[in-house]
């Protein structure tokens, strides 16, 4: 983390402090004027990586409350800018703080405008900061820090006047509902406790009247609590200076105790109340401050650099974390895989031990299994036509008019396809799909015979005679057990399928009538 430096600016000088681990270290005092500014520039150059917090503590600080129409976004920004410009001649160190909305009738925003009205006195310091590219976090005032101090000290009073004595003077800040409403720097002699106490009492009364006049405080109100920081030794002086005041209730807090409660471990001895405020500022960093973006440019750059590097590092770290988790998963998974592998080795070993007692096979086991399957399938479709031919021969003998010309025998798993192919051949019907095997024919094989034959005693024009002989032959074949006549092609079939022409008076031809029959027989039937 970058070093933090706090610049306490009064009308006469700039006092620089370093803040480390709850300790404020004196870095030096720089008097107003060219020499002081030059020395300050050298000081800035000594550490370009430090973050600077400027805290002017001057009398010229204005507070003004106004209600504005409730608008949001860009319009609000424009409106606030215009209001600031209307009120302040120099707007370089001005701010607007929302005090909440006011309901009833038109909804309005209660805005507190505040500005340093004479910025000329510390412009040289700001210029040096800009020139030296110092990372100015912001310009704050003790008034802005006052609510944070109260919060750090766990003060629960809803409205109070915080009084503290600094090297710059006596600061009185009125805080309501945790937000600054008014602040003023008055004169006081820190070396004389009695005078300081009297000044505190008198100025508190004056501010109370002022707040009532401005209607910031109601006229009939309970006693306003005045939280004053002073050394414990000055208690008596404060209490005696206070007297019996029904409108103001004094709560004196020992400055040393408050510093300890806030976590300030040590501070230069010459610091007064500002040590508490500067320490709280360094530890808390309020969002509201006076400096423009131009003044804070190098701080924004630093933040952007930091965000980029932090973002990159975060992504890297997150990725590494996820990767780590995954690699642990990998390690765990690999261990499990190794365990599985050992188990597999054990199971396989047991299997191999048992397998060693298996009978020896002439060919590898897998091939043996395949060979047996194939051989069985091969046997299912292997046969010789002895019996089939014998059946056909007996059928031919039963119909002596028929004499075969040709017998085509083959083995098929789809005898109907064979018959169709035969029919296509004779009728020249192309492109007709083969019929599917009959249901139940899967894994069954058939002997298929196509018998081409002629009829001796019937004339070719005697279709009825031919049909009668062929029908008789088919009938005989069908009577043979196991035979199935799949198709029969006679000359009569031909005349029913195509156009024919002839001469009835013509002398009868000597052609021998021919036909073909497809018969199948299931192997093994």
């Amino acid at each position: 983390m970058a070093e933090k430096r706090l610049l306490y600016i009064t009308a006469k000088r700039l006092q620089a402090y370093s803040w480390k681990g709850g300790k404020l270290l004196d870095d030096g005092a720089f008097e107003s004027g060219d020499e002081g500014v030059t020395r300050f520039a050298h000081y800035l150059g000594s550490s370009r990586k430090a973050l600077y917090y400027a805290v002017p503590d001057v009398t010229e600080e204005d507070f003004f409350q106004e209600n504005i129409p409730f608008v949001g976004g860009k319009d609000r920004k424009t409106l606030l800018g215009r209001k600031i410009a209307q009120r302040y001649r120099d707007t370089s160190l001005a701010l607007a703080v929302s005090l909440g909305t006011q309901e009833g009738g038109r909804r309005e925003d209660r805005i507190l405008f505040s500005s340093f009205t004479n910025t000329q006195q510390f412009q040289p310091w700001l210029a040096a900061l800009r020139t030296n590219e110092a990372m100015l976090v912001g310009v704050y005032s003790l008034a802005l820090i006052a609510p944070l101090v109260a919060k750090r000290l766990k003060l629960t009073t809803p409205r109070y006047l915080m009084v503290s004595l600094q090297n710059g003077g006596m600061r009185q800040s009125y805080v309501e509902d945790g937000q600054i409403r008014f602040s003023r720097l008055g004169r006081a002699d820190p070396t004389d406790p009695r005078a300081a106490a009297e000044a505190c009492a008198a100025e508190s009364n004056r501010i109370l009247q002022y707040l009532i006049n401005l209607r910031i405080l109601p006229r009939e109100t309970t006693a306003l609590e005045v939280v004053a920081f002073a050394p414990a030794a000055h208690r008596e002086a404060y209490e005696s200076a206070w007297g019996d005041n029904p409108l103001l209730k004094l709560t004196l807090i020992d400055l040393e105790s408050a510093c300890r409660t806030a976590g300030l471990n040590s501070a230069p001895p010459e610091m007064l109340g500002e040590r508490l405020f500067l320490h709280v500022l360094a530890g808390t960093q309020p969002a509201v401050q006076f400096a423009s973006n131009a003044l804070r440019r190098f701080y924004h750059l630093w933040r952007a650099r930091f965000a980029l590097l932090a973002g990159g590092t975060a992504v890297f770290a997150f990725s590494l974390l996820l990767s780590g988790i995954r690699l642990m998963d990998v390690y765990r998974t690999n261990n499990e895989t190794e365990q599985d592998s050992k188990q597999e080795t054990s199971v396989t070993g047991e299997y191999n031990r048992l397998q060693a007692n298996f009978p020896k096979t002439p060919i590898p086991r897998e091939k043996l299994k395949s060979a047996v399957g194939t051989a069985n399938a091969l046997l299912r479709q292997t046969t010789f036509p002895d019996r089939f031919f014998s059946e056909i021969s007996q059928a031919l003998a039963a119909v002596p008019q028929i004499e075969f010309d040709k017998i085509d025998w083959e083995i098929s798993d789809n005898p109907r396809a064979r018959a169709t192919a035969e029919a296509s051949k004779t009728t020249a019907v192309a492109g007709e799909p083969s019929p599917a095997a009959a249901p139940g024919d899967a894994n069954r094989y058939f002997e298929v015979v196509v018998i081409s034959a002629h009829i001796n005693t019937v004339k070719s024009s005697d279709y009825r005679g031919i049909k009668a002989v062929v029908d008789r032959f088919v009938q005989v074949l069908r009577q043979r057990p196991g035979l199935e006549v799949i198709s029969a092609r006679t000359p009569f079939d031909a005349i029913t399928e195509k156009a024919i022409a002839g001469d009835a008076s013509e002398q009868e031809r000597d052609d021998v009538p021919q036909f073909s029959i497809t018969v199948s027989r299931r192997i093994g039937a």
């Binding site: 750059l301 980029l308 992504v315 995954r326 060919i363 590898p364 060979a371 051989a375 010309d405 085509d408």
Partner: protein, 206 residues
């Protein structure tokens, strides 16, 4: 805008570093993801293997019984001469012997190079070098006196061929009619047949 355009130049190095860090992180993620996926795959494969091994072990008795049954089956096929080597010379001699014995008019043969048995319904692996059974295709042209000559020829071939013969097709046609009259003995039938001589693929033997 809090930063000016000129300020972006000053952010080049941090931006590059941030991108580098993010890139390194992403690379670490990708690497670990890949390793994890690989580890899961290995585990899955290992699981599958161990499951297979367990199933194998559980079925070891069944497997032994299968082998014994297969061996018994194989012996049956040996008896049917299906598991012998290719015997081209013996087949040719057998054909000549049968012709002589049966006094056949003419037996012409054509023996093709052997190939895997690829009949319908046989396992897919019955092809190429992986085929268990091989077929040496024998194409026969026979001139016969009558049908019985053909049946006797095949009967003799099965006996004398010392191999398993699988007849695939046969076409018998009549060369002359019964009314052709007497005269010297002439072939009356012509047969064209295809027989596969089945042998075992010897490359598979251990």
């Amino acid at each position: 805008m809090m930063l000016e355009r000129a300020d972006l130049k000053r952010l080049r190095i941090p931006l590059a570093l941030a991108l580098l860090l993010a890139g390194a992180g992403a690379a670490a993620l990708v690497f670990s993801e890949a390793r994890l996926a690989e580890a899961y795959q290995l585990k899955k494969d290992g699981h599958a293997r161990i499951e297979a091994a367990r199933i194998r072990l559980a079925k070891v008795s069944e497997e032994e019984l299968d082998i014994r049954n297969n061996l018994a089956e194989l012996r049956k096929f040996e008896d049917r001469r299906m598991t012998g080597p290719e015997k081209r010379l013996e087949w040719i001699e057998a054909i000549a012997a049968i012709r002589e014995k049966r006094r056949l008019f003419q037996v012409q043969y054509n023996l093709d190079p052997r190939r895997g048995v690829d009949y319908p319904g046989l396992a897919q692996e019955q092809s190429g070098a992986r085929a268990v059974f091989m077929a040496s295709r024998l194409k026969l042209e026979l001139a016969l006196l009558h049908e019985e000559d053909l049946l006797n020829f095949f009967s003799d071939l099965r006996t004398a061929g010392e191999s398993f013969a699988s007849l695939r097709s046969c076409s018998i046609s009549r060369t002359e009619t019964v009314f052709s009259g007497g005269g010297p003995m002439r072939p009356r039938l012509r047969a064209s047949c295809v027989v596969d001589m089945i042998t075992l693929n010897q490359e598979g033997k251990p």
